[in-house]
């Protein structure tokens, strides 16, 4: 898995936010469209894509997509 794979999955959770704005340094908790609901969609999509069952806690503790990537990668090892 590469960070771009995660960014693609992440971007697919959004309807209104332009996917080109996402990068490893994006602080996603500050996005207008981010909500607890987006978080559950993200959890479901990460499970389908990478086979990793994240807790919503795990996501809450991340600020940037790079940090989220590290968490997912950590589970995969």
């Amino acid at each position: 898995m590469y960070i771009n794979d995660l960014i693609a999955v992440f971007a697919s959770c959004f309807e209104q936010t332009d996917s080109s704005i996402f990068s490893p340094s994006t602080e996603f908790q500050d996005l207008d469209e981010w909500s607890s609901l987006t978080a559950t969609i993200l959890v479901a999509k990460i499970e389908s894509a990478f086979g990793v069952e994240l807790e919503t806690e795990d996501i809450r503790e991340c600020d940037t997509l790079q940090e989220l990537f590290d968490v997912v990668k950590n589970y995969m090892q």
Binding site: E15, Q16, S36, L37, T40, I41, V43, A44, E47, S48, E53, T56
Partner: protein, 525 residues
């Protein structure tokens, strides 16, 4: 367009927030009358107590009835039926829960029968494709009260938008069928009239079922055509002599049996039937032919043909689901093949006459002009969805939207056209918003007989007799309607504004020529 969803669980993952607003869980206290439409999507409650489960299901029925009675009648309302995703039976002879769910679904169907704005979406049609462990993910249920698993949200969205297409009456119009090893087993040129496999034992039996299925599809208004590399005389002989065939010459609206390239033949068929290539589905057992069509005309659908004849029933079902299933089918649809056949007879007749006017005269055309009513409104809505070529503004409407427009004072008329070759049914309409023509369209199968001019002039004469003098109209260009770009110009309207190809017109009825040739028999119904 914003729809309001009544729900008892979290369903945002399945619909998103862009086009939808949501009620609270199980909450009917807020009834927004300004939404563009409504969705009712209640799911079976999670409880392990049978009596309680039934009681809650009953309360849902009351709530649904209450909401339906109070919401504006003219707006689209989509009702999801219910499926028990997690049935628990302590004893097999206890039917209480199943009965309650059936009775809830019965209520949905009854409401749809009696309210034309209410459309049903059968949730089972989606859930049948999954097993229980994919349908419910308890982790998400407990975290966010999502009953249907968000893991299958993407599949749901695809399926749901397909259901909306069906409600909007979008479907393909025409099947283009190969013959050898497609409609029967074997090759006619090699095996002979008696030698091809149809009826009797397998594999002939599978082809027989397949032909029966296609006949039913034809009866539901899908046009069947043939495109085959064969000697036409051999095929005519087999149609006349083989006793086991179900589909024969008259079942096909048009045929191309020759040794030409199939891409040319298909383009030709589209032209003869006056339909778009994007409304055709090409069925051929030969992958090379499919590839040729696919490359020549990517808009023609070319599904893979099954390798074994016993797969034909499943293949047929898939064709229906993917291309032909639609929310409701009108009588006009069912008569399609006859109408297209009559049309090709007309085309052949036309070559006999030296000029177009004496040809039109010879047809003895009758035009009935009918105000919109409950019976023809679904057909009118369908025409706005499907007509592309002779359509001045290409505004798409649903029957519920049209009902609202009529309540707002619009005048809507449709025409039913017949001639000595047959009845084409309801094939055109005009919509008047006060002094403005909002929509004018005609189905392509009645074009070429100047019916459009007779129709418009008769309507203008009617408006004049009602005391109107200035009428406005528009032409809005689309990818497909270039043929009507100067329709209004040719009929006495004057352009008063033009931008990006769109034209706004007026006509002064007091100085307009509204005479219609007397060889049309025009009646107001």
């Amino acid at each position: 367009m914003k729809l309001f969803i009544f729900r008892n669980n979290t369903v945002e993952q399945f619909f998103g927030n862009k086009e939808y607003d949501y009620s609270g869980y199980d909450d009917i206290s807020y009834l927004p009358t300004d939404s563009d439409g409504y969705i009712w999507f209640y799911q079976v409650p999670v409880t392990f107590d049978i009596a309680q489960k039934c009681e809650i299901l009953n309360s849902y029925k009351e709530k649904l009835q209450y909401v339906v009675n109070r919401l504006p009648k003219g707006k689209p309302f989509i009702l999801f039926t219910m499926v028990d995703l997690f049935p628990i039976s302590y004893s097999l002879d206890d039917f209480a829960v199943v009965r309650s769910i059936n009775s809830y679904n019965e209520l949905c169907w009854d409401l749809a029968d009696t309210n034309s704005n209410i459309k049903i979406i059968e949730l089972a049609d989606f859930t049948n494709n999954f097993v229980e462990k994919d349908l419910i993910h308890w982790r998400f249920y407990f975290n966010s009260q999502t009953y249907l698993s968000p893991m299958i949200a993407d599949e749901f969205k695809t399926w749901f938008s397909k259901q909306l297409d069906k409600i909007a009456l979008k479907r393909k119009k025409c099947l283009v069928l190969d013959l050898d090893n497609t409609l029967w087993g074997g090759v006619l040129g090699e095996d002979g009239v008696e030698g091809i496999e149809i009826g009797g034992e397998y594999p002939g039996k599978a082809f027989l079922y397949w032909q029966n299925a296609l006949k039913s599809l034809k009866d539901q208004g899908v046009i069947l055509t043939v495109c085959s590399k064969n000697n036409e005389a051999d095929v005519i002989e087999v149609w006349e002599k083989n006793p086991f065939l179900v589909l024969r010459k008259d079942d096909f609206a048009a045929i191309r049996i020759n040794w030409n390239n199939k891409a040319e033949n298909i383009a030709d068929l589209a032209k003869e039937l006056n339909i778009g290539l994007d409304s055709m589905v090409f069925i051929d057992d030969n992958p090379t032919e499919r590839e040729l069509i696919n490359q020549s005309f990517p808009m023609v659908e070319t599904p893979d043909f099954p390798l074994k004849p016993y797969q034909l029933p499943a293949f047929f079902k898939e064709l229906i689901n993917r291309y032909f299933s639609v929310y409701s089918i009108t009588d006009e649809d069912r008569k399609k093949t006859e109408q297209y056949l009559a049309n090709s007879q007309r085309v052949q007749e036309q070559t006999k006459y030296a000029d177009i006017e004496s040809f039109i005269k010879s047809l003895e055309i009758k035009i009935d002009i009918i105000p919109a009513d409950d019976f023809n409104l679904p057909r009118i809505a369908q025409m706005t969805q499907k007509t592309n070529q002779f359509n001045l503004t290409t505004h798409r409407y649903t029957d519920t939207e049209l009902n609202q427009r009529i309540n707002d004072g619009w005048k809507i008329y449709c025409i039913s056209v017949s001639d000595r070759f047959g009845d084409s049914g309801i094939t055109g309409c005009i919509m008047l918003d006060g002094n403005r023509i909002d929509t004018l369209l005609l189905s392509c199968r009645i074009l070429g007989k100047n019916i459009e001019c007779a129709f418009v002039k008769t309507i203008l004469a009617l408006l004049k007799s009602e005391g109107k003098s200035i009428i406005e109209a528009d032409y809005i260009p689309s990818k497909r309607n270039a043929q009507v770009a100067d329709f209004y110009d040719k009929n006495g309207f004057a352009v008063i504004e033009e931008s990006d190809g769109a034209k706004h017109y007026v006509i002064d009825l007091n100085n307009a020529s509204l005479a219609v040739p007397e060889y049309y028999t025009i009646k107001f119904a």
